[in-house]
Amino acid sequence: MAQMTYLQAISDALRTEMRRDQSVILLGEDIGVFGGAFKITQGFLDEFGEDRVIDTPISESGFVGAACAAATVGFRPVVEFQFIDFIACAFDQIVNYAAKCYYRWGIAVPVVFRGPTGGGIHAGPYHSQNPEAWFAHTPGLKVVLPSTARDAKGLLVAAIRDNNPVIYLENKFLYRHYREDVSDAEYVVPMGVAALRTEGSDLSIISYGAAVHLCVEVARNLEREGVSAEVIDLRSLAPLDKDTFLESVKKTSRALVVHEANLTAGFGAEVAAIIAEEAFDYLDAPVMRVASLDVPVPFSPPLEMAILPSVDKITRAARRLLDY
C-alpha cells in the first residue's frame, strides 16, 4: 500500500505491465524524453528504452494505425493522446480498423488508447472534451473510465491484458487532485463490473468518471438530511454492468444519471433508456439526467462552471426526484 495520486496510479499500472510483459510498448507524443505532457511516463524511457517508449510525430492517425497493426502481430501497444480531444484525428483508424478487425477476420487487436479527458481546469474547447459516447456507440470497442486511483491502476492493467481495443479515459482534473492508498502489488479490476460508492435505499445515482465524486458529495449531503442515496460508478461503459444499476433502481425506485459529457445523446441517455425499458414497473419517478450543457467547453471559469454538472445541480435534481 502506498498513497498514490490518480496520475501516479496510471504510471504504476503502465510500469507494472511493461515489466511483466515485453510485448507492451508505448506510443505517443513527447512521452519519451519529456515523460509526457502530464508526466505519466516520466522515467520510462530510461527504464524501458527507445524501442518500447516511442516518441511519435504529430500524426494521431498514423501512429494509431501503426499501433493497431502491431497489435495484430503480437504486441500490446498503449497509445497516449496528449489530450483526448485529438482522438478525433485518429477516429477512422479506431472505429473502422480497431473496432472491426476481430469481427471481420477473427484477428484480435489488443491495443489501449488512453488520454486525459474532461474540464474544470480552464483549458478551453480543445482540451476539455469527453468523447466516450462516440466510442460506446461503436461496436467492437471497450470503453472504461476510472474515477479513483485504485480503479485507474486496476482497470488499466485489465485493459492492457485485454485482447480487444480499449478506450481508457482518464480525467485530468483527478490526475493530481485525487489521492488514496493503492496497492503496489499487481491487481486487476475487471472491465464490466460497476462499483458502489455509497449504499442507499432512497435513490440510485448512476455515474462514471470524475462526476462520481460530485455524486458522492451529494449523497453525503443528503445523508445528513436522512436520505440514503446509492451512488453507482459504472467504471466501464462497454461492457456495461446493467444488472447492478437495474438492481439498485428496482430497490430505490428512483434513478438519476450523471456525467460530465454534454447531455444530448450522451451515454446517460443509454442508461436512462435501459432503466425505462427494463425497470419500468419499479419506477416511482421519472428517470432524470444531469450532464454538461450542450455547448463546446468554454474557457472562462464562470462559463465553464456554468456548463459542468455540479453538486448543486445534482442535489436539485435529486430533491426533485425524492419529492416526486
Binding site: 501503426a66 502481430v73 477476420w105 483549458a123 487532485h177
Partner: protein, 382 residues
C-alpha cells in the same frame, strides 16, 4: 477552375517484354507458376463479372484485370515471414501465394467461408498464418499505410529480417494516412515497401486531379526514401524494380516507394461504364495487356510450348468452375452467428461470480472549484 485532365501524352512503353530468358534466374516451373496465377485471376474475374451481370453476386464487384503483372511480380518476391496487404486489384497476388479460388468465390457469394464467414466482401482477405496477408482496414483509402508501418515496426522491434509490402492505388496516395504512415515509417527507417499501382484512375478521377505531381515517386523526397517509377505491365520490369525496393527495405535502410504505371481495364466496379476513359488510352493499354505480353514472351522467348500454356488455361477454367459449384453448395452463415466473435476472449473477463458490484467508498471526493491555485498549476501541464 480545376484543371481538367490534360490530353494524355502516352508514355513509350514497349508492347513486348524485353528481358532475355537467359539472364533470368527462373526455371520453367517458376515462370509457369507466375503465368498460372495471372491466368487464374483473369479467368476468375471474367467469371465473376458474368455472375455479377446475372445478378448472382450481392452488392458490387471490382476487378483487377490488366494489373496482374504488378501483383504477381511483387508478390513473387515475398519471403518467409514477410507480410503484405492488398487492395481491390490484387487477386492474382493472392493466387500466387496459394489462396484457393473457391474460397474467394464463396466469400463473394456471402457464404460461411473462413476467416470472414460472410462478414466481409470477397474482395478482401486477411490471413496471416496461411498466406502472410495482414489484416487491414479496407474502407478508407490509405488507411493501410499506417498499418503497413505498424507491421514493419513489429519486424524492426523483433529484429526480424522481414518486410511488409503494401499494395496501393494512385488515388490512395492523397489521404493524410498515406503521408502520416510513410512519414512514421521513414523516421524510424521501417521495412515498409509500398507498391503503388498507378492505373490511371481513382474511380473516375485522373491522376492530374489527384496529385500536383507527374509521378507518385516524385513525392519520395518529402520522406527522404527510396523510390522508383516503372512500367507495370512487363512482369520482369516489375520484378526488378520491386526487388530493389524490397532489398532496400530489408537491409534496414527504410521504406521504399515503387510506382508502377499500369491500367485498370474494367470500370472502377462492374457497374461503371467508364464513359470517362478515352478510346486512345484504352487501346494503348490493351496493346500492352500484361497477360498477353507474358504469354508471347513465354512462347517466343522462353520457348514454352503453347500447348502447355493452353493446359494451364484449362486448369484455371476448371478451378473456376469448381469454385462456382463449391460456392453455390456452401451454406450461408447461420443468422444466429451474427453476434459472435465481436470481442476476443480475455484473461480478465468477469466471471459470472465476479459480476457482483463491489462496495468501494470514495473517502475524499475531488471536486473542481474555481479558485484553487494548485489546480491552475496542474492545468498548466500541456
Amino acid at each position: 477552375m480545376t484543371q481538367t485532365a490534360p490530353l494524355v501524352e502516352l508514355p513509350d512503353f514497349p508492347e513486348e517484354i524485353k528481358a532475355d530468358p537467359g539472364d533470368l534466374p527462373y526455371n520453367d516451373e517458376q515462370l509457369l507458376r507466375m503465368y498460372s496465377a495471372m491466368r487464374l485471376a483473369r479467368t476468375f474475374e471474367e467469371k465473376l463479372a458474368a455472375l455479377y451481370r446475372q445478378g448472382k453476386i450481392f452488392g458490387a464487384v471490382y476487378l483487377g484485370m490488366g494489373q496482374e503483372a504488378t501483383s504477381v511480380g511483387a508478390a513473387s518476391l515475398l519471403e518467409k515471414g514477410d507480410l503484405f496487404t492488398t487492395v481491390a486489384r490484387n487477386l492474382s497476388a493472392w493466387f500466387y501465394r496459394g489462396v484457393e479460388p473457391k474460397h474467394v468465390l464463396a466469400r463473394w457469394f456471402g457464404k460461411d467461408q473462413p476467416p470472414s464467414r460472410g462478414r466481409e466482401l470477397g474482395l478482401f482477405l486477411a490471413d496471416i498464418e496461411n498466406y502472410g496477408i495482414a489484416p487491414y482496414h479496407n474502407g478508407s483509402m490509405a488507411s493501410w499505410i499506417p498499418s503497413g508501418a505498424g507491421f514493419a515496426l513489429a519486424f524492426k522491434l523483433r529484429g526480424q529480417p522481414n518486410i511488409c509490402l503494401a499494395f496501393t492505388g494512385d488515388g490512395a496516395t492523397s489521404p493524410g494516412d498515406f503521408y502520416e504512415g510513410l512519414n512514421f515509417a521513414a523516421i524510424h527507417k521501417l521495412p515498409l515497401v509500398i507498391v503503388c499501382e498507378v492505373n490511371q484512375f481513382a474511380y473516375s478521377t485522373p491522376c492530374a486531379k489527384q496529385m500536383p505531381v507527374k509521378n507518385v515517386a516524385d513525392r519520395a523526397p518529402a520522406f527522404n526514401i527510396y523510390a522508383e517509377t516503372a512500367f507495370g505491365n512487363d512482369l520482369f520490369t516489375v520484378i526488378e524494380a520491386a526487388r530493389r525496393g524490397i532489398e532496400h527495405a530489408r537491409s534496414g535502410r527504410g521504406p521504399a516507394l515503387i510506382e508502377f504505371k499500369t491500367f485498370r481495364q474494367r470500370g472502377h466496379g462492374e457497374h461503371d461504364d467508364c464513359g470517362y476513359v478515352s478510346a486512345e488510352i484504352r487501346q494503348f493499354w490493351e496493346a500492352r495487356d500484361p497477360l498477353k505480353m507474358y504469354w508471347r514472351w513465354l512462347v517466343e522467348r522462353a520457348k514454352i510450348l503453347p500447348g502447355l500454356l493452353a493446359r494451364i488455361d484449362q486448369v484455371a477454367a476448371r478451378q473456376v468452375d469448381e469454385a462456382v459449384s463449391y460456392a453455390e453448395s456452401l451454406p450461408f452463415p447461420r443468422p444466429e452467428t451474427v453476434t459472435e466473435r465481436l470481442f476476443a476472449p480475455s484473461p480478465h473477463d468477469p466471471k459470472p461470480d465476479e459480476k457482483r458490484a463491489v462496495y468501494e467508498p470514495i473517502e475524499r471526493p475531488a471536486i473542481p472549484s474555481l479558485m484553487d491555485a494548485k489546480e491552475r498549476q496542474d492545468g498548466g501541464h500541456f
